[in-house]
Symmetry: C4
Subunit: 239 residues, 4 copies
């Protein structure tokens, strides 16, 4: 188990670097991993840009978003965002909060983000939009307390992604490679949907296509191939 945890924390660091390299995360945004042996705990970096995160930056948190031992480091202000999604979703092992530039237009314009190509079937359908003004009025936009985080987790529901109005997105999946894949395809679908919409009415995947294709893509074989590719591009060599 110790060996497993060690390897998973290595993957958590690599996921931070991958999503920075792929243009999903920039100076802000973060990646969380549920503890493989204690489902009521998770790991997240201290307050640091994902591109710079190392193993020494990782802290352990409770599902209230509190660090078990802060070690004198400052956590992210939005740690609780991950905590409450993990609390609400026992099937989820990894979560991401990002402000990906390609995705943000769908958090600003009133147009649903919906799968327009097979790779984006993992979005599962039109992505819900959570609005902090509903129930919380004018805020500093952060998801930094339990009520807002619970409200966001409710908007995510059983899906893989949710948009935050004028702010960004959150993604959730059953493993680190899976959540990275979801983030990258959310980026790609947003870009593609925008380009296709500019040219005319886009044709979307059918519900049947979305379900059948997502099942295939969330399997070991495609995720292994994609993870090896993202790793290599982010400078971590082949597997």
């Amino acid at each position: 188990m110790e060996r497993d945890l060690h390897a998973l924390l290595g993957d958590l660091v690599i996921a931070n670097r991958i999503l920075a390299h792929e243009g999903v995360l920039d100076d802000f945004g973060h990646v969380a991993l549920r503890h493989p042996d204690r489902p009521d705990r998770f790991f997240l970096s201290r307050s640091r840009s994902p591109e710079l995160v190392t193993r020494d930056d990782l802290l352990e948190f409770t599902l209230d978003g509190e660090p078990v031992d802060p070690k004198g480091l400052r956590p992210y202000l939005e740690s609780v965002l991950h905590a409450r999604i993990l609390a609400a979703r026992p099937d989820v092992q990894a979560t991401v909060h990002h402000h990906c530039p390609a995705v943000l237009p769908y958090a600003v314009a009133d147009v649903p983000l919906r799968p327009v190509f097979h790779m984006a079937s993992v979005l599962g359908g039109p992505v819900p939009v959570w609005d902090s003004r509903d129930g919380f009025g004018d805020t500093n936009m952060l998801i930094d307390d339990v009520p807002r985080a619970d409200s966001l987790a409710a908007a995510l529901g059983g899906g893989t992604c949710v948009l935050l109005r004028n702010h960004g997105a959150a993604c959730a999946a059953h493993s680190i490679p899976a959540v990275v894949f979801v983030c990258v395809r959310m980026r790609d679908n947003a870009e593609l949907q925008s380009r296709a919409t500019a040219m005319g009415a886009p044709r979307f995947l059918t519900e049947g296509e979305t379900r059948l294709t997502a099942e295939m893509l969330m399997g070991e074989r495609p995720l292994d191939r994609a993870w090896a590719y993202y790793r290599a591009r982010a400078g971590f060599g082949g597997i």
Copy 2:
């Protein structure tokens, strides 16, 4: 002949890397080459992202899409896509299947991709679109059996490119440098046509211009120059 095969397999590896570097292929997509001495066989990598493909990843296939000797490696799920195009087109020596982001809008919006500048004359005219729903209904979108691959090959006809609705594209040509050139110009034309369309009604090449210019570009001189350039950019030095 052995020498020729060795050099061609080296070019096949380089073509994988070039198309990854040029943004035509990403974690998915693949390049195939007909065996120079056995027209009923072809080469394709095992299931691996093109940017990471090496000579040791190459497997030999029959025109039914079956590996002659799998060597314990997993082939791509869509190997049969290449098999059936090569079966239908004796003039074709190399094929590519890709999901190039610049091209995908033309697989999503109902707008024909058509040559708008001289370099893209190699597309040959408006690019046909193949729709898996016609004849196959809701699927996981993969071209992983002979009937779908044959249907796609029929849509390609005698041309150099075909689009797959909500999925990607396939390209075919008489050599590796030629199919790489077709892929890159398909990317460039899609980008240019989208930009020009956003500004007003684009002027297309005439049929005569398309034919005369494609004949010139598919000659040894332009293809040699382009291949040397793509090779160098992908890190394989000059020739």
Copy 3:
């Protein structure tokens, strides 16, 4: 105090490199820093592209835009632009003049640049546009004398940014990391607002959200994180 000045001039060089690396500055544009001990003086590079600026290129200026000692070097033609903003705004310690490609459309089209996501709350609201034709007629577009620079400073008012019609922008803030952050978010907001507008009517931050979020982002913690990230990306290692 000497130590402080030395460190600040190092940051001024790094800010030049960061803004070049982030695509805010190109061959033209510049960054100025008020002297920490003499508020009537400021530092600016000699006439050189920001990506190439070193500590030896820095010159000291008066608030009339004149070099205290030119050391035989050519100053920028627009040094006075920074001088007059610093003269008008005692709260400002650092200024930038740029022609960021993402921002320029808002200096060309008659559409106000306004915060569309939380990170861009630091723009403070719709960005004013200064037009050299108002009061100065046809010019060579440079802000190279005191009257034009004073007019521009008046248009900036108490804010963080102003646009120059058919030319570029100027930014001002209380520190080097803060003005770099403002520039990068001006870039991001322009890109995002353009993309969202192409898709439909964008939803903007409310006034309350803008104020609350900007107060949070202009604090030490977010600025430290962003500065460490920009530094690392520009090749200056972590902190």
Copy 4:
């Protein structure tokens, strides 16, 4: 004089690399330089992508587009394009033919390319468009004979740029740094005009602004600064 020629040929190689690095030239396109001592001769690379051009690739040509001594190397098919512009324009020392992706929409859509920001004042006004169908009908689109090259040179007139319908552009100026500057600003203006047009009616420079600003930018100081910057970005160090 020998020393001068040697330095200028070095700059010609660097200009090839700069324009490849800046995304103006790709596998095709070329840069020519008039012989500093023999105005009826000029230098151009053999048929090779600009990114790969070295001093050994340079050949000397007459103003009919014929190589003085081919040295067994293949010239570009369109060498005569440069020859006839240099023949028609004694004030021009350097010319470029390119297919810059940002510029091409203006060779495809029926929208005039016009200076929308001060840096692009060097375009001089709306850029003329030359159409090979006017007078030559359906062709392979190349400018590979004297009549077509003379026709193109006539369309360029006394200006710095001309567009070739469905093909690309040609630029001309009084020195290598000047023609590089014109090409880069043609790229920037096209990108900016497209973005601004998508948002609303762009405001253009006035005729007076265009003239006054271009005079300033074509001076030694701005061109020196830009050339040092482009050189460094293309890997040739500072000056």
